[in-house]
């Protein structure tokens, strides 16, 4: 499989402060990869290095086979980049800016208008073509940022928080737009919104304090994190007795009761406890109303990994 983004042993110091600490990862062609991490973890710094805006202190990054430092121009030709909090010239209109960006990216003069219209349609910028960028709302400015990244159909897209500042319906649109890029483009996006990442991305890379702490599919991460299982139950019966019965079952590590017959059981050894739980409760004469396995969400994985690091 062809690797579109290859990062090897990449580090970045800001003076004495180490923002990125010897990270390695690869992104295959057509993949959509989410880049997660708390604020200040080094996400934006890494993406800026990939975009050729910052030079790494050590290590190499390659995009589309080109080195981000020595072949910066070729890298930038194969790249669409949406910076975090994108700033665009306030004194230009949307069309003027897109035409400038198209020309700067090497779009042929005769294809310029068509290409600008294509990205404007894709990002829902119709109706604001002649508006000054200064007069755009944050959501529209973000769409314009995304539109310029899509100009000239670059094989690799690097999007730093693409849905920030958008309203919920816009978020859905932009997500489906990114989803549509799947296969034809390689996308690396950073985000704070974890459900978004688990919906969009084939793979998640979690970075904390400049180091990669996890890299896997969202499903695998949830599974690994679970160690065992987490099951929610609704049982009719005296609370103390039910709790005691549940705790008595081998393999159960923790039982929490939320009142009105709702319980949460956590298993410790990776075994699926559901059949045994059902059998136990029925044998003991309780009425089992509901039994459901609860997935660990990406939030849990993320918080766990990040706090593990810190403790």
């Amino acid at each position: 499989m062809e690797m579109m983004i290859e990062v090897q042993d990449l580090s970045k110091f800001y003076g004495p402060l180490q923002a990125v600490n010897h990270i390695d990862f690869q992104v295959a062609a057509g993949e959509i990869v989410g880049f997660l991490g708390p604020n200040g973890a080094g996400k934006t710094t890494t993406l800026k290095m990939l975009a050729g805006f910052l030079a790494p202190t050590s290590g190499t990054a390659r995009i589309n086979g080109f080195d981000c430092v020595s072949q910066s121009l070729e890298v930038r030709r194969s790249l669409g980049y949406l910076p975090e909090n994108v700033s665009i010239y306030p004194d230009m209109t949307v069309t003027q800016f897109l035409k400038f960006a198209a020309r700067a990216k090497g779009v042929e003069a005769k294809e310029e208008t068509g290409e600008c219209q294509r990205v404007m349609a894709a990002c829902g910028l119709e109706g604001v073509e002649v508006k000054l960028v200064a007069a755009l709302s944050k959501g529209y400015r973000q769409r314009l940022g995304l539109a310029q990244a899509l100009l000239h159909q670059p094989p690799v897209l690097i999007l730093d928080e693409p849905t920030i500042g958008l309203d919920p319906s816009q978020i859905v649109e932009i997500r489906s737009l990114i989803k549509n890029l799947e296969g034809s483009h390689t996308v690396m996006l950073s985000s704070h919104i974890l459900p978004e990442v688990s919906q969009l991305c084939h793979r998640v890379i979690i970075i904390n304090r400049g180091q990669i702490v996890a890299s896997d599919t969202p499903e695998n991460l949830s599974r690994q994190m679970g160690h065992g299982s987490r099951i929610s139950l609704t049982v009719k019966g005296p609370e103390a007795q039910v709790t005691a019965a549940l705790q008595g079952l081998p393999g159960v590590s923790r039982v929490a009761s939320f009142g009105e017959g709702r319980y949460l059981v956590e298993g410790g050894n990776g075994k699926d406890l559901r059949p045994e739980l059902a059998r136990l409760l029925v044998q003991q004469g309780f009425e089992l109303l509901e039994l459901k396995s609860q997935e660990f969400s990406l939030e849990d994985v993320f918080l766990n990994l990040v706090t593990e690091e810190e403790s």
Binding site: K48, F53, R76, P83, S87, Y89, Q96, F100
Partner: protein, 262 residues
């Protein structure tokens, strides 16, 4: 060809931004008001002197000085050059400083543009803005030519001098703008450096000797003087082109350093 399209993209973008903002119109307006005022007073002064000379017995030494080149154009060029020192920092200070301050350079520097196409695009745009201002001043001479014969050759040399001087000053101003993200600082540094390269020749009178000569050669004003007399010499042309190249080159180095310093 790819580089050229990057250059024209930048040129067009910078001109769009100049024409969209007030700086272009305000500086242009006052530049033309001042230039027109000085041209008018020079012509007035010239006509008074000519009248007096015609009435008195003509002194051959005075008569040699009595032509539009000496009494109208040379003082005009000198005034325009002084205005230039004030005008240039106003035009150039935003060129790169503003991109840094507002963060737009993050997009600019991640587009597949060479540093040279960025620098030359910006430099070309600001030079074109100045040329637009200067083109308007040609109307003075056209009007003047109805009253008295104008030596268009000498005028051409003078305007060539103006353009080269302006290009040199604008290159220096662009460099000053690359040093900082604060427009005011870029303006102050540009102004100070311009003034310094202007008056560095004055040392000649104090220092004398080879050092004084070298200082005089470095001074912008000294080379500009020849153009105002209607003289185009390769010495002055080479000086101006090296001056422009030197500061554009420093700007390029300054841009390159951006990647290494965070």
């Amino acid at each position: 060809m790819k580089n050229l399209s990057g250059f024209t993209a930048l040129l067009k973008k910078e001109l769009t931004i100049y024409f969209a903002g007030p700086i272009f119109y305000i500086t242009g307006f006052f530049f033309l008001v001042l230039a027109g005022y000085f041209f008018y007073t020079n012509v007035l002064y010239y006509s008074i002197i000519s009248l007096q000379a015609a009435q008195q017995a003509s002194n051959p030494q005075v008569a040699a000085q009595l032509n539009p080149q000496m009494l109208v154009y040379r003082p005009l060029y000198q005034v325009l050059a002084i205005i230039l020192i004030f005008l240039v920092p106003l035009l150039t200070m935003r060129l790169l400083a503003e991109e840094k301050r507002s963060g737009t350079w993050e997009l600019l520097f991640t587009y597949p543009l060479t540093d040279w196409s960025i620098i030359l695009g910006k430099f070309g745009a600001v030079l074109l803005v100045y040329l637009i201002f200067l083109a308007f001043t040609l109307s003075f001479s056209v009007a003047f030519s109805f009253m008295t014969p104008v030596d268009w050759g000498a005028l051409g040399a003078g305007y060539l001098g103006m353009v080269l001087l302006a290009a040199s000053c604008l290159a220096l101003g662009l460099f000053a703008s690359s040093l900082t993200e604060n427009q005011i600082i870029a303006g102050v540094v540009g102004f100070a450096l311009l003034l310094l390269s202007w008056i560095i020749g004055w040392v000649q009178e104090l220092a004398g000797g080879p050092l004084g000569k070298a200082m005089q050669y470095l001074s912008l004003l000294d080379h500009y003087e020849n153009f105002t007399k209607g003289v185009i010499s390769t010495r002055d042309l080479i000086y101006c082109f090296s001056f422009i190249f030197f500061f554009l080159f420093l700007t390029k180095r300054q841009l390159e350093s951006r990647r290494w310093r965070a």
